[in-house]
Symmetry: C2
Subunit: 454 residues, 2 copies
Amino acid sequence: MADFAAQPVLIQARYVVPVLPERKILEHHAVVIQGERIVDLLPGELARTRYPGAREVNLAHHVLIPGLINMHTHSPMTLLRGYADDLPLQQWLAEFIWPAEQRHVGPQFVADGTRLAIAEMLRAGTTCFNDNYFFPDVMAQTVSETGIRACIGLPVIELATAWAANVEECLEKGLDLLNRENRSPLVMFSLAPHAPYSVTDATLRRLSDLSAEYEAPVHLHMLETRWEVRHSLGQHGITPVQRLLNLQLLNSRLLAVHMTQISDAEIEVASEHGVHVVHCPQSNLKLASGICPVAKLQAAKVNVAIGTDGAASNNNLDLLSEAQTAALLAKGASDNPQAVDAFTALKMITINGARALNLEGQIGSIEIGKLADLAALDLQTPETQPVYNLFSQLIYAASSRQFSDVWVSGKRLLQDGRLTTIDIESVLEAAEYWRSRLSADISSPNQPQEGLAG
Amino acid sequence: MADFAAQPVLIQARYVVPVLPERKILEHHAVVIQGERIVDLLPGELARTRYPGAREVNLAHHVLIPGLINMHTHSPMTLLRGYADDLPLQQWLAEFIWPAEQRHVGPQFVADGTRLAIAEMLRAGTTCFNDNYFFPDVMAQTVSETGIRACIGLPVIELATAWAANVEECLEKGLDLLNRENRSPLVMFSLAPHAPYSVTDATLRRLSDLSAEYEAPVHLHMLETRWEVRHSLGQHGITPVQRLLNLQLLNSRLLAVHMTQISDAEIEVASEHGVHVVHCPQSNLKLASGICPVAKLQAAKVNVAIGTDGAASNNNLDLLSEAQTAALLAKGASDNPQAVDAFTALKMITINGARALNLEGQIGSIEIGKLADLAALDLQTPETQPVYNLFSQLIYAASSRQFSDVWVSGKRLLQDGRLTTIDIESVLEAAEYWRSRLSADISSPNQPQEGLAG
C-alpha cells in the first residue's frame, strides 16, 4: 500500500504514456508518487491544487513511461562484452566464452559485472530485469544494493560450474535462496534450467514440482536453434515442446526464451497453456539462430516480451533498441508492415514483461496503486522532433540515451542522467580490471593489433 | 593540398581506427590536421616533438574514426518523422506522405528540414550524406552554411512537383545547378531519377548521357519491392536490371539504392559493371520490402554502402545503428554468423560510401593527404566497457550519442557534444512550427489522443 507517512512527489510531465489503458497519451499530466507507490495520475494544474506544497519534478520536454522490463539477460556477462564476436555459436561458446568463464567467474566477477549491467540498464530506462547466471546470491545482493528490481534465476545445469558441482548442489543452493527470510522486496527468484538439451527429464520434473510449490517462474532457453530440435528428436524421439508438455512445464509460469524454431502447431500449444515467450531479436540475428515468429505468436494471443540477452552475445543491454529491432524484424519476417506497431512494441518491453513475471498487478504500467517504476525520456533533441506520434518517436526514433530520470519503487535511481546509487568511476575501473585479467590469459580473436610505426 | 598557412592541430586520441589499412588499430596516436587536410598520423608523444607548440585536442577515452557517410537519405523529410507509420507502402505514400508534401514542400520546408537533418547527422558522427529531394538548390545552400559535406541529388520524376512541372523543367533546373560556378567545395551533385518505374526510357537515356558528360553519379531507388519487378516485366517485358543495362546506366556511377529483389544472376551483372549498392536495412524491414542479399553481394565483390533512408520511413538518421542492423541482418538472412563482421560494417559506413561517390581519394579513411573528415566517439561509458575489441564496441555496443566531436574539412562542427555552426534552439522551433502546420490540415493516423479526465 501507499506509504502515507511519506511526502507526495508530483512528477509533472509533458506527456505521460501509462501503457494501460492502451494507446492512451496524457498531455501535461502529473504522476503523484508517495513512498514506493503511484497514488494519483491527473492533469498537472489540478495536481498542484490537490497536493499543495508537494515537491515537484518538472519534465517539461519529456515523456514519462513505465520503467522498461528486460526479460532475458545474463548481467555479469557485460564483462565479456566483445570478448569474441562474429563466430559460429559452438565455436564462440566452446573456444572463448566457456573457457573464460571457467577461469574467471566467481563472486567478485558476478558482483562487478552485475553492477556494470545495472548501471547500463538504469541509464537505458530499465527498472526490472530477468536474469540467469551463476552466483544468484551475489546478484541478488547487488540488485538490492543498487535499488533496481530483478527476477534472479537459480541456475540448474548438469555440468560442474564454479557455482555448483552438479544438479544436486544447484538445487540445494537454489532452495536455500528461495527459503531465505528477510528477502529484499526488489528481488524475486526463478528456477532456471539452462536449456532442454542440457538438463535431464528427472531434473526437469523436479523443477516442475518446485515451480508449482513455490509459484516460481521457470526461465529457460528454448528452441533457440534448429540443432536443438534435431537433438531432441534424436535423443528423446520427441520435440522439446512435446517433452516439456509431458514434463508438465508448459504453463503460465514458463518463460520460454528465444523460440525461433516454434512451429505453427506448437504456437497453438503454447497459447493454450499460457506460456510466455521472450524474444531476443538481436541475439538471434547475430548468432544466425533463426527468427521468432512474433506476429504469429501475437495473433495466437501468446504473451511475447523482449530480452536483450547477455552482452557477450548482443552486445549491449539497450532494451529500447531491442524493441525497435523487434518491431522492424516482425514486419520484415511476416511480410506485413503493420505487424508489431510501435505501441505493441512498447507493450512488449513494459506490461508484457510484467505479465510474464506474474507482476502485472504491481508494475508494467502507470496506474494508481502500482509500484512507482518509471522512466522519463527527453524528447527535446533533433532526433525526436517534431512529435506527431509519441509511440513512433519512442520505438522508431529515440535513443535509450535520452532517458534522463528513472524511479524504482518510488526511489529516483537516475536523476538528470546521473546514477544516484552507483559510482560510475568504480564500475568502469572494475571493468578495466577484468579486461586486463581476461586479456592476459587467453588469446582472444579480438585483441587490438600493434600500432603503426610512427 | 594542405594549407601550410594554417596552424597544425594535433588530435590526440586513445585509439585511432584509420579504416585503411584494414583492421588497423592505433593506440595513443595523433592525427595532425592543417587547414582542411590530414597531414600526419603518428604516435602521440612523437607528434608533440615534431609539432612543438601546436594546439592539441585531447580525446583521452575516445576512438577517432573517419566521419560516417550516409549514402541514402531525404533530409527534409525529418519534418515528417513519425507523420505516418506502420502502414503498407502504397497507403503510406498515397494517403499521407504525398498529400503532405504537395501542400507543404517549398524552399523554407526544405531549408528547415535539411538543417534539422544535418544537426542530427553531425551529432551522430556523419560528415557526408547522399541525398535526393526537391529544391536541391536550397539543400546545397544549407549544406554549405552548416559546413557538412553532401552529394545532392537533382531530382527527376515524370510527375509535377513543387520543384518542377515536368521532366524538362527538372533537367533544366538540374543543369543550371551542375553548370553553376563558384560552387561550394562541400557540395557535389548527382542525377537522381526517382525509380525505374517512375521515369521513362527516354529520360533515363538522357540521364545516362549527362552522367557520362558531367561524371556525375546516378542516385536511383531500385529493386526496392517485388512489385517493381512485376511492374517492369509487365510494362517493358524485361526486368529493371536488364532495362538499365540496355539504357547504359549499369556502371560505376550508379548508386543503386535498396536492391532487395536482386537475383543471383543479377548480382554477377552488377559486379561486372561496377554498380554500387546502397543498403537501407531498417527502412526495408519497416516497409516489409524485402532483404538486400548483402553477404552475396560482398562475395561477388560488389561495393555495398549503407543509408538510413529518410526519417519519414526509418525514423532517424542514425548511421551507426543502421550499420548494426546491417551486420545483424546479414548474419540472420544468410544463416551465417560470420557474415558482415564488425569491421566490414564499419567499412560500409566509411570507405565504401566514399568509393561509391568516387571520393575515395579524398574521404572515407584517415590517411595523410585526405580531407580531415573525422568523428570521435567516447568509449568511457558503461555501455562500451570493457574494450576487448574496438570494432565490436563501435558496431555492436556503442550508441551514436557517444560521438563527442566531428570535423569536416578540418573544421570542428561538433565540439564536446555541441554543434558549432547550427543553433539547436532555432532548429527545434522550426520543427515545432512545421508540426503545427502539418497537424492542422490533415488527419494523421498518429495524432495524440485526448487526455484522460483528471
